[in-house]
């Protein structure tokens, strides 16, 4: 009996074997290789050591780059959540039909254009002669153009728009699972709209918030084009740092170290978020 079950399970595994093999060779192996590289020593010295990591964490500049990257990811995630949640809510409250289709299209639209094109569009928006500055100047709100490009906030603005669908789509999915009767029941029990939102809607869409946050955070901290184009050479984030070490300086061990640190950071944040998610999953399963 048990053997049979085992055999059955084995057959299931056999089906995923090609994919497993594929991932082992093209995904896991490079990561292992990267970690090993990160443990090798600079110069010609043989053997593995933590010296690259000691160097990374011993240098304030590196820690600042790491922190700036995490902070960028966090801020982008928050902006996406704050702006995306109402939009997702609007989408889920729009009755299926033309308007909803248009809304869906608008939400997904950014995904249909390349991140590079979107990034350059943001140059037009944020530039000294860009849309924002032109508008503010012509309304005489400012006298001199504001510096928006090459700033941390400019990067957040562009990155938030670019990653927005990653937040909104999981939110919409979680709102679609939300029984509208729950909100009606809450209102009928005397809860005003804000209380219904915080007690019912928000906690029940938390899985979507967490999923969206995970996606936006990981995509933001590993994004390369937008931070370098909008942020310029004076804002250093981990992906650009990795690129410089590997390609400009041919310092592969250190590039591997930075990559591993970034990988572990992302994994840590994702684990943290998904453990939050598992707290809420028990009741949303049904």
């Amino acid at each position: 009996m048990q053997a049979k079950a085992l055999l059955k399970a084995g057959r299931g595994w056999a089906l995923v074997f090609p994919l497993t093999l594929f991932l082992m060779i093209f995904y896991l192996a490079p990561i292992v290789l990267m970690v090993i590289t990160s443990l090798s020593q600079a110069g010609e010295t043989e053997g593995l050591s933590w010296s690259q990591y000691a160097e990374f964490f011993g240098d304030g500049f590196n820690l600042k780059v790491l922190w700036d990257t995490v902070w960028l990811g966090t801020q982008t995630t928050i902006v996406c959540l704050l702006l995306g949640y109402p939009l997702a809510l609007l989408h889920s409250r729009t009755r299926p039909g033309n308007w909803r289709s248009i809304l869906t299209f608008l939400i997904v639209l950014p995904l249909l254009t390349s991140a590079v094109v979107r990034t350059f569009a943001w140059i037009v928006i944020l530039g000294r002669q860009g849309v924002i500055n032109s508008a503010l100047l012509s309304l005489s709100i400012i006298e001199e153009p504001l510096r928006l490009l090459s700033t941390h906030h400019g990067v957040i603005a562009a990155l938030s728009q670019i990653q927005m669908p990653l937040m909104i789509l999981p939110l919409i999915a979680s709102m679609a699972r939300l029984d509208p009767n729950l909100e009606a029941a809450s209102a009928s029990l005397g809860s005003p709209a804000w209380r219904t939102f915080w007690r019912i809607t928000f906690p029940l869409t938390l899985p979507g918030i967490i999923a969206g946050s995970m996606l936006v955070f990981s995509a933001s901290v590993s994004s390369f084009v937008t931070p370098s184009v909008i942020g310029g050479g004076r804002l250093m984030f981990m992906p650009m740092y990795i690129y410089q070490q590997a390609v400009s300086l041919f310092n592969y061990p250190f590039a591997a170290t930075i990559s591993t640190v970034l990988l572990i950071t992302v994994l840590a944040v994702v684990t943290l978020l998904s453990s939050l998610g598992s707290l809420t999953r028990s009741y949303t399963r049904t």
């Binding site: 390349s114 569009a121 530039g127 000294r128 090459s150 390369f224 050479g233 250093m236």
Partner: protein, 379 residues
């Protein structure tokens, strides 16, 4: 006032086009792996050689830097090599360091057949491991190159273009051209300065030139770092690449910056009110070399024919004119337009007026400088 508004207008109208070019640059810089695989050249080459008598045929994939280089080589060189030799050339947009990195990573299966490297990365690269000697006998145009550009004792290939570094400026904002690099430290320019990181030849050459102006040399640019520290509060942007810096200048994000001559001239050509000035003490020339890689997928004949086309008078006459403005290396080229205004109609005069840096010395310290620069400009 009216003038200014007009130029604003034209600036806007070019913005769209500039964005498109800029975005395609980056798109390509990021997607280096999209090299199209050359068709198996054996049979095809033989067939077309028989059919057209004398034409080499086949295909080749050659690198050009993203942006104006890529555009020029695609429009001019690829079409000429097709017409003259029936070779299908694929242009792979890639920066110098990326090329070296890829060649080192896959020496047996290089993703392109012909590479394009500035002096700095070229002289820093392990040339014996990744390049093969240039077959001079297959290149009729080689003899027409200025002797300095034939590679000397280096046998890895000819210099295909010389690009001059100078001061690019927004002509709306300056009555007369800035005279020297020291102009960057003029308080009037506060908040308008654009720089580029030292990852690029442009950024490194700029730093070396600044060092020289303030008493340093190729071996020691400490003084340049000190002066940059003073300058930083007035810097509007530090671009990650020369192309990005040109875009910033074009969009009025910065009004003065060290840039390649041809970048500014092509913006002028597009109708922008831009200026480019030779700084006091001379303009640095950056020599770009083309070489055939080891183990190319294309035939050596095809690869050599491609490079020969790049250095031919036919191609270089076009490449030196509007809208590309590449400095020629072929002695038979006739210069005109802005070259005439800034230098001379004689290419010999042009190349001899430029300053050439000692990249071997620079390369000794360059990685540390790049790191240091990136750290010191970081906010």
């Amino acid at each position: 006032m009216v003038n200014r508004r007009l130029s604003h207008l034209s600036r806007r109208s070019v913005l769209g086009a500039g964005l498109f070019v800029g975005s395609s640059m980056l798109l390509k810089a990021c997607g280096q792996s999209q090299t199209s695989t050359p068709a198996p050249e054996g049979e095809e080459a033989a067939a077309s050689a028989e059919g057209e008598g004398g034409a080499i045929g086949g295909s080749v994939s050659a690198v050009a830097y993203p942006g104006i280089w890529e555009e020029a080589h695609r429009e001019v060189v690829a079409s000429q090599v097709k017409t003259n030799q029936d070779i299908d050339a694929t242009i792979v947009p890639m920066l110098a360091n990326d090329q070296v990195a890829q060649l080192i990573a896959a020496p047996d299966n290089p993703p392109f057949d012909v590479c394009l490297l500035d002096e700095g990365p070229f002289r820093a690269a392990p040339r014996e491991d990744i390049l093969q000697p240039f077959p001079v006998d297959m290149s009729p145009s080689f003899a027409n190159l200025f002797p300095d550009f034939q590679g000397g004792e280096e046998v890895w290939g000819p210099t295909v273009a010389v690009t001059a570094i100078g001061i690019g400026y927004n002509a709306d904002r300056y009555e007369s051209a800035p005279a020297a690099w020291e102009e960057f430290w003029n308080p009037e320019n506060a908040g308008r300065i654009g720089l580029v990181t030292m990852n690029s030849s442009l950024g490194t050459a700029f730093m070396v030139e600044v060092a020289k102006r303030f008493g340093g040399s190729e071996a020691d640019i400490e003084v340049a770092f000190e002066r940059i520290q003073e300058l930083l509060p007035n810097v509007a942007a530090v671009a990650p690449s020369p192309g990005a810096l040109a875009t910033l200048l074009q969009q009025g994000e910065v009004d003065i910056a060290p840039v390649y001559m041809n970048a500014v001239l092509s913006l002028q050509d597009a109708g922008l009110n831009m200026g480019w000035a030779i700084p006091e003490g001379g303009s640095v020339g950056i020599r770009a070399t083309m070489s055939i890689v080891k183990n190319p997928q294309a035939s050596v004949e095809a690869a050599a024919a491609y490079i020969d086309t790049v250095i031919s008078a036919e191609a270089q006459n076009v490449l030196a004119a509007s809208p590309y403005f590449f400095g020629p290396t072929n002695s038979e080229v006739q210069l005109s337009g802005p070259f005439e205004e800034l230098f001379s109609t004689d290419p010999q005069d042009f190349i001899s007026q430029l300053i050439y840096l000692d990249w071997d010395t620079i390369n000794l310290n360059r990685p540390e400088w790049i790191e240091r620069f990136n750290r010191e400009v970081a906010v």
